[in-house]
């Protein structure tokens, strides 16, 4: 992006990315210790989460997937309540019942983190129908990966959204990995956007590791959705820098491919852009990074102090 478009809000984007990275580094370290629940990270995909979520309004709704930490933190979720949830404590967003894999936060408009791959695509149409029917302004942002795009529900969801004219921003984070399998083993093409276009959903491919490019594309897509109420898809090309599950499992990653994407680390890209444009200095970025880590340490202390739910919560809230 042009340097003139970089402003104070660009630093806010970096700040969110640093917070997500610090949060997930902490989760990865805790998982490696063996006394912690297994988690799925979005390590390397921070620009996709931050760039899109920063383009959303307060009334917009979010449905996401098992790599949702970035989306939640970008939306302003409290890392302490997130860690409490991951650790099964009562102060978690879902009272410790969802763990890391299913966090919903109504107060933030986060309706669902689905760990059924494609579950977010399944519910997004209904959430958008409700927004439309009840005359609410917000659109629905639905985050999923290239793996979910291989599910039949991807086709069903986009087709219905296109046919009914539902205000959904589909965000495909094409991170090249589908759980334990590289994308090249599961589909002939490299991209998801043409599939959306074939269903009548306007789609755009963006460098998912360039937070400024993602943000600009998301703002433009949201504007178009708000104007005509029709769905759009953004395919964000990115890369999952960690294995499917923490503690990290040996990833059958091609070393050259991994090295290439490490070079393209979204934080590195963002920092380099800010430094080159003179919008930040190294010391200032170091201060931001330290502040992010300090915030995560405080969040962990909060989560560790939170009690486990009482046994009588086993049956709570199953039925209305």
């Amino acid at each position: 992006m042009s340097s003139t478009a970089i402003s104070g809000s660009a630093l806010a984007l970096l700040e969110r990315m640093l917070l997500i990275r610090a949060y997930e580094e902490k989760l990865i370290a805790l998982s490696a210790g063996g006394q912690f629940p297994a988690v799925c990270s979005s390590f390397g995909q921070e620009a996709a989460a931050v760039g899109v979520v920063a383009a959303l309004g307060a009334a917009d709704q979010i449905l996401t997937n098992h790599r949702s930490a970035g989306h939640l933190l970008a939306r302003g979720a409290d890392p302490g309540r997130m860690l409490a949830e991951v650790m099964g404590r009562v102060d978690g967003y879902c009272r410790g019942r969802s763990g890391s894999l299913h966090i919903a936060a109504r107060e933030l408009g986060v309706v669902l983190t689905s760990t059924i791959v494609g579950g977010e695509l399944s519910l997004a149409t209904g959430v958008a129908l409700a927004q439309q029917t009840l005359g609410r302004r917000g659109l629905v942002a639905c985050f999923f990966g290239d793996g979910a795009a291989g599910e039949g529900i991807f086709h069903e969801s986009l087709n219905l959204a296109a046919t009914w004219g539902l205000p959904i921003l589909y965000v495909c984070e094409n991170n090249q990995w589908q759980a334990y399998v590289h994308r090249r083993e599961t589909m002939l093409g490299e991209h998801i956007a043409p599939w959306a276009q074939s269903l009548g959903v306007e789609a755009e491919r963006v460098d998912g590791n360039d937070v400024f490019a993602v943000h600009a594309a998301a703002e433009a897509a949201c504007e178009r959705i708000r104007a005509d109420g029709r769905p759009r898809l953004l395919e964000l090309s990115t890369y999952r820098l960690r294995g499917h599950l923490e503690p990290d499992d040996p990833q059958a990653a091609d070393a050259a491919e991994l090295a290439l994407w490490r070079e393209r680390d979204p934080l590195r890209h963002c920092i380099a852009t800010l430094l080159a444009g003179g919008h930040a200095d190294a010391a200032g970025i170091e201060r931001m990074s330290r502040a992010a880590h300090a915030r995560i340490e405080a969040a962990l202390a909060f989560a560790e102090a939170s009690p486990y739910p009482a046994a009588d919560e086993l049956l709570a809230d199953v039925y209305a």
């Binding site: 709704q61 449905l63 978690g92 967003y93 879902c94 009272r95 410790g96 019942r97 969802s98 299913h102 919903a104 936060a105 109504r106 309706v111 669902l112 689905s114 059924i116 579950g119 695509l121 399944s122 519910l123 997004a124 149409t125 209904g126 959430v127 958008a128 129908l129 409700a130 927004q131 029917t133 009840l134 039949g152 529900i153 069903e156 969801s157 087709n159 219905l160 046919t163 009914w164 709570a316 809230d317 199953v318 039925y319 209305a320």
Partner: protein, 341 residues
């Protein structure tokens, strides 16, 4: 929507109508009562012209022939303030819809710590009657009884169908509403000014003290026929229509078995892990000392249903078999309980 209804001269508020028409009255009245109620599914707007005319295309919608997204859309809409009715047509099509219903609608109220509710109804038909074969006719209601967070209903009369559907639409939980194909066009008297029939309450259709026949769907009618045959032989059977399969009205069943000492559970669905197994287990757990004979289950076989009409009819338990089982149980004196307790 009640084209087939005829007015009963005894009351302007009573009509004789089919179960299908009774469901239509319930849907229309609930849509009138609550603007958040809407209905969609494959052919909904095509086949339910009266609903479309009255409520418009935004609330009465056709969908693609894609059960997974029909269900998913209903679940997402319910989480966000609407009260959808999704018509899945035939029960086996629920296999495509099961992810959204079981993994999301049934679980996410609990898993979100109570942040979201899922007030939705899915309609699905099953049971013999149309000779449509096993990919349209499969009584799989017990699958959903086993899943947490769902309610499951299967009525046997037009009046109950209407009252239970109204209750299901007003319920804040996801309800699977199964309609027995064989009963769809059977007429019955319906009180049009009647309120809801609450979910979770069985109905004692016929009182009797010698044996308890517990059933749902078309098997209730088979039990009533059997009871008439048994009465001629001096055996008074009590017939209980479960109506709601989850939550199950255990108390009504237990009270009956404590009086009669004998239980026969009857349903068209296959026997293994069926609703009858659950009823039998609860009676064995809580009314063992009242039993004077072993519990009997009369159910469909563990086999796909054939399309051929005679085979399809033979799949469901027949009145003669029910009566014969009751005769056997009533002949078992002295009380088995004296041996087992």
């Amino acid at each position: 929507m009640t084209q087939n209804a005829s007015i009963n001269p005894s009351s302007l508020h009573h009509a004789v109508m089919s179960l299908s028409d009774a469901l239509d009255t319930a849907i229309a009245e609930e849509m009138r009562r609550d603007p958040r109620v809407l209905m969609f599914g494959e052919g909904v707007a095509t086949k339910r012209c009266a609903l479309l005319d009255e409520f418009g295309a935004a609330r009465v919608r056709n969908t693609p022939l894609a059960e997974a997204i029909i269900a998913g859309t209903a679940v997402g809409a319910a989480a966000s303030g609407l009260r959808p009715i999704a018509d899945l047509l035939f029960a086996p099509f629920l296999c495509y819809a099961t992810d959204a219903l079981v993994n999301s609608a049934g679980k996410l109220r609990f898993m979100s710590g109570g942040q979201f509710e899922f007030p939705l109804v899915t309609l699905a038909m099953s049971g013999g009657g149309w000779g449509v074969g096993a990919q349209h006719n499969h009584n799989l209601e017990a699958w959903f009884v086993h899943a947490p967070g769902l309610k499951v209903v299967m009525p046997s009369t037009p009046a109950d169908a209407r009252g239970l559907l109204k209750a299901a639409i007003r319920d804040d939980n996801p309800v699977l509403f199964f309609v027995d194909i064989g009963l769809l066009y059977q007429p019955g008297e319906v009180a049009l000014d009647a309120d809801i029939v609450p979910l979770g309450r069985a109905r004692v259709v016929r009182a009797g003290t010698d044996v308890s026949l517990v059933a749902y769907g078309k098997s209730v009618g088979a039990c009533l026929e059997a009871a008439a045959q048994l009465a001629a032989a001096g055996i008074e059977a009590e017939v209980i229509d479960l109506r709601t399969l989850k939550p199950l009205d255990t108390e009504t069943v237990l009270a009956s078995v404590r009086r009669s000492g004998r239980l026969i559970v009857v349903h068209e669905a296959s026997q293994s892990c069926g609703v009858g197994a659950e009823v039998a287990a609860r009676v064995a757990e809580h009314a063992w000392s009242a039993l004077r004979a072993p519990i009997v289950r009369l159910c469909g076989p563990d086999a796909p249903v054939a399309a051929s009409f005679p085979l399809e009819q033979a799949f469901a338990p027949q009145p003669a078999a029910i009566a014969a089982a009751a005769h056997r149980l009533c002949a078992r004196e002295p009380a088995v309980a004296e041996v087992n307790v």
